[in-house]
């Protein structure tokens, strides 16, 4: 045994093990993928190197990794096991996978505004998105449903007046410019849209003689809010040649709006906490960075503001210089300012115009340039459409499960797992009446169970995955039965040959099991993917690691004491 620890191969395993265990502990987000990687690495190594002790060491290391992952990161459960609410969003029509990931981002953003960071958002096929929150409080749920079904409001603001609003735009007319049109207007990207008569007349009036003014494109601009920025927030992406004063002036220009909808800006460093600017009423929001000192936040709350916090990336304004060297605000996500194209002189004559286009250029060349241009087109399209989800939300068709019931389901399910393990152990013991064959089977089954739980628990264990885990215990034992039956058979064949025969059968079985389940894995039928994953992982784990390890143990104890090579 001693020479094993100085064996080079064993040392390679140790190095991999140390790298993987630190990965699992320090990057919990990737722990599931790292475990799958460990399974593959140790699996391939133990298939390459014939030494049975290496095979056993591979399985043992994987088991330790799995246990470490459970200890360090815990297991994640779906709402079936921890309680909570699932709200399905049904899309109007199937969407492409690109569009789907975009939608998921929008939904995530909307839900995270509520401070519900534990919310899970995932696609179900290409027509549905499920939002899961670990809360069954009726008030919270109603609020989420409201936020999700809410249609965004687009405003194009010119010189402190709404020049164009989303409700005057024909949503079906919002389309990218063709490459010919782009060449004509000498732009890299562009979006065109049409407005109705009301929109055309309003734009003509507001935009008259405002050539080269920025059109501040707002989505859901707050109507009753005050912006509190730190000097660092302003400085973050201010061009080097600009002063703070100039930045404040351009901010004031962007935030100006008639009918008392103006948003004032204050610098947090200059605030006198004992006499803060008064809020308009008790619904006035104070928009502030989440890095702001707690003393400032509580002072604002005390003077009657509703404090809403945003990450630095969303509250730091970004700036542009126009051709006439004026500094303008290009983007300030916290208040919904998403873009600020300039008004071209042709549109400022005061004559109603029904068709508009927004164009721009991007630096760079080749594929990068194309991608950047496409991203801009998508962004502008989504702003004009009101950032709306092309969806209808089926309110009411949701699942709410109290935490106590979920925990009860989990407890019973774990009892089920243990019970099936015990029953199978008894059966194997009864069948072989041979402790030396039975105990390894049971030990390996327990290790498989722990490894599977740990991998699936890094993602989410839902009902389907739990059912798959129980199934994997039953089916996983099968291959070990094939090996045992071959080994116990009295023939002149050597142990080695017997194991080879057994493995030929097992290999085909694993391939078949995987082949029949893999199409399910790629089907997008999320409800039952957990089942497919646990079945496939179970086969893979068995084939690459636990069955070779089992053959090694059993070869030693059943065979003539000779380890199987």
């Amino acid at each position: 045994m001693m020479e094993l620890f100085t064996d080079k191969k064993f040392l390679v395993l140790v190095v991999f093990f140390l790298a993987l265990i630190s990965g699992i502990i320090f990057y919990p987000v990737y722990s599931g993928l790292l475990l799958i990687l460990s399974l593959i690495v140790f699996g391939i190594l133990s298939m390459l190197w014939k030494d049975p002790r290496i095979k056993l060491a591979g399985l043992a290391f994987l088991l330790i990794l799995a246990i470490a992952n459970i200890a360090a990161n815990g297991l994640k459960y779906g709402i079936d096991f921890q309680g909570g609410t699932r709200i399905p969003i049904v899309l109007e029509k199937p969407v492409s996978s690109d569009a789907m990931s975009e939608l998921i981002d929008i939904v995530k953003k909307r839900v995270s505004v509520l401070g519900l960071t534990e919310a899970k958002v995932r696609a179900v096929g290409d027509t549905q998105i499920n939002v899961e929150v670990p809360s069954s409080d009726e008030q919270t749920i109603k609020f989420i449903e409201g936020t999700l079904s809410h249609q965004g409001v687009y405003w194009g603001v010119v010189d402190g007046k709404v020049a164009i609003s989303g409700e005057d735009i024909y949503s079906t007319s919002i389309i990218p410019l063709s490459s010919q049109q782009l060449a004509q207007s000498n732009a890299d990207w562009g979006v065109t849209f049409s407005v109705n008569r009301h929109g055309a007349e309003q734009f003509a009036a507001v935009g008259k003689n405002k050539a080269d003014y920025p059109v501040y494109m707002y989505l859901d601009r707050p109507t009753n809010a005050v912006l509190f920025l730190s000097k660092a927030d302003i400085r973050a992406s201010l061009p080097d040649d600009s002063s703070e004063k100039e930045a404040l002036r351009s901010l004031a220009d962007a935030l100006e709006l008639d009918s008392g909808r103006n948003i004032s800006v204050f610098i947090t460093e200059d605030l006198n906490l004992s006499s803060l600017p008064k809020p308009k009423d008790n619904a006035t929001r104070a928009i502030i960075s989440n890095e702001t000192a707690d003393s400032v936040k509580s002072a604002l709350r005390n003077s009657g503001y509703v404090v809403t916090e945003y990450p630095k990336s969303e509250i730091s304004p970004s700036f542009n210089r126009t051709r006439s060297e004026v500094l303008t605000v290009a983007k300030l996500e916290a208040i919904g300012l998403l873009s600020s194209p300039l008004l071209s002189p042709g549109l400022t004559t005061g004559v109603p115009n029904y068709g508009f286009s927004i164009t721009g250029s991007v630096p760079g060349t080749g594929a990068e340039k194309t991608a950047e241009a496409q991203a801009n087109v998508k962004k502008i399209q989504s702003i004009l459409k009101g950032g709306s989800l092309p969806v209808q939300i089926s309110l009411g068709s949701r699942t709410t499960l109290p935490a106590s019931l979920g925990q009860e389901f989990l407890r019973l399910s774990l009892i089920g797992v243990v019970a099936s393990l015990v029953a199978i152990s008894l059966l194997i013991g009864f069948r072989y009446r041979n402790l030396r064959a039975t105990i390894p089977i049971i030990l390996i089954s327990i290790s498989e169970l722990i490894i599977l739980l740990s991998i699936l628990g890094s993602f989410t264990i839902d009902l389907a995955a739990m059912a798959g885990i129980i199934a994997a215990i039953g089916v996983g034992v099968d291959a070990q039965i094939v090996i045992t039956d071959e080994l116990l058979r009295k023939t002149e064949e050597s142990t080695e040959e017997k194991v080879e025969h057994a493995f030929a059968i097992i290999k085909t079985n694993v391939v078949v099991a995987a082949l029949s389940m893999i199409p399910l894995l790629f089907s997008g039928l999320v409800e039952i993917i957990g089942f497919a994953i646990s079945t496939i992982l179970g086969s893979l784990l068995g084939y690459m690691l636990s069955r070779p390890a089992y053959a090694a143990i059993v070869g030693m104890v059943i065979g003539k004491g000779e380890p199987v090579q």
Partner: protein, 362 residues
């Protein structure tokens, strides 16, 4: 643990029980109940605060105009009720109107813009607009609203009113389900699962794709692996028989066809191929008397089947205790298929193979 070699004597008789099972199954397959996933409709699952009577609940809900199937179970976690409401015809129709409307809308919008600047296109616009209005009027009447309720001047408002009407139909359908439930049942948790006509048709087409892919992959693998026609055919016959028996059991025992039971059926393909391959490998690639080899394979194969049956029995008992539908559907289908597999493998596949080996030689 030894049992007699059933392949001694006239083994062909062994095919009788599985063939009988398959015939019974084929008779019962049409009776399989489609679950909400594939049929559309709404399934409400409630954990009740107290005992309840299914018949009374059904009558109460019917009194509120809700025609629904009601089942009540007693589980270890209390009473549980399942209320199944079929797909609403109105909803299906609204979905169709919506896609009709969405097809017309871009043209109408375009013509509206053009006609505002150029009156020569006005007639064409008005004709298209009338077509669109006809579709939305049908939606309005479905929703029980009238065009006068909205202030419609152009295509933009037309679209807004149209979606409002659509949402009203959806909302009405949902409150027609939730109101009577709120009124008559006190519950501690609720799950309302509505599968729209669109989603259910998607589930169906995806499931069909998965089945085709799985079948093609498995069949291709078996043929490539064995490279002989009769044994490959025998393996596939055994596997297909197993799935047929599992489907028959779903019809007999009323296990609904849902996504979880579909997943279990797929797993059965893999499992039944397992025992079939074990048998075929031992018959074709090992030396010795064919009937002895078949018997030996059967000993191993039965142990495999029984352990799998034990695991799924644990899941099945868990399902009976908790009445979690996912557990029930997976375990019941798997158990039926595993039992069916014993008949299919040793009654059909083994008989075909023995006949082949003794006639043709391995």
């Amino acid at each position: 643990m030894d049992f007699p070699n059933i392949f001694k004597g006239n083994y062909k008789l062994l095919a009788i029980p599985p063939l009988v099972l398959i015939l019974i199954s084929i008779y019962f397959i049409p009776q399989i109940k489609m679950g909400v996933d594939f049929q559309g409709g709404t399934l409400v699952t409630l954990n009740l605060k107290g005992a309840a009577d299914a018949e009374k609940l059904k009558a109460d809900l019917a009194g509120e105009g809700l025609d629904a199937g009601v089942r009540v179970y007693q589980t270890t976690t209390g009473y549980k009720a399942e209320i199944e409401v079929p797909q609403s015809q109105k909803l299906v129709e609204a979905d169709n109107l919506k896609s009709e409307f969405n097809n017309l809308l871009p043209d109408v919008s375009l013509l509206e813009v053009v006609s505002m600047q150029n009156s020569s296109q006005m007639n064409e616009y008005l004709a298209k607009r009338a077509e669109l209005e006809a579709v939305s009027d049908r939606m309005f009447s479905l929703a029980g609203v009238s065009r006068k309720d909205f202030n419609i001047t152009g295509a933009i408002e037309e679209q807004k009113s149209f979606s409002n009407a659509y949402l009203k139909i959806y909302g009405d359908y949902q409150s027609s389900i939730s109101k009577p439930i709120e009124k008559h049942i006190s519950y501690s948790s609720i799950s309302i699962q509505t599968v729209s006509p669109l989603l259910s048709s998607q589930f169906i087409s995806k499931a069909i794709n998965v089945v085709i892919f799985s079948a093609v992959l498995s069949i291709a693998f078996v043929f490539i692996f064995f490279r002989t026609f009769v044994p490959s055919l025998a393996v596939l016959t055994g596997s297909i028989s197993d799935v047929v028996i599992a489907l028959g059991a779903m019809g007999i025992f009323g296990i609904p066809f849902t996504l979880p039971s579909f997943a279990a059926l797929l797993m059965l393909i893999g499992f039944s191929l397992d025992t079939d391959i074990l048998l075929t490998m031992r018959m074709l690639r090992r030396k010795g008397d064919p009937r002895e080899k078949a018997h030996w394979a059967m000993k191993t194969g039965l142990t495999m089947s029984v352990t799998a049956i034990v695991a799924f029995s644990a899941l099945f008992i868990l399902a009976l205790l908790t009445h979690i539908p996912t557990y029930y559907e997976i375990s019941a289908v798997a158990l039926a298929g595993l039992v069916g597999d014993i008949f299919a493998t040793w009654g059909i596949n083994a008989v075909l193979l023995l006949w082949y080996v003794e006639r043709v030689g391995a």
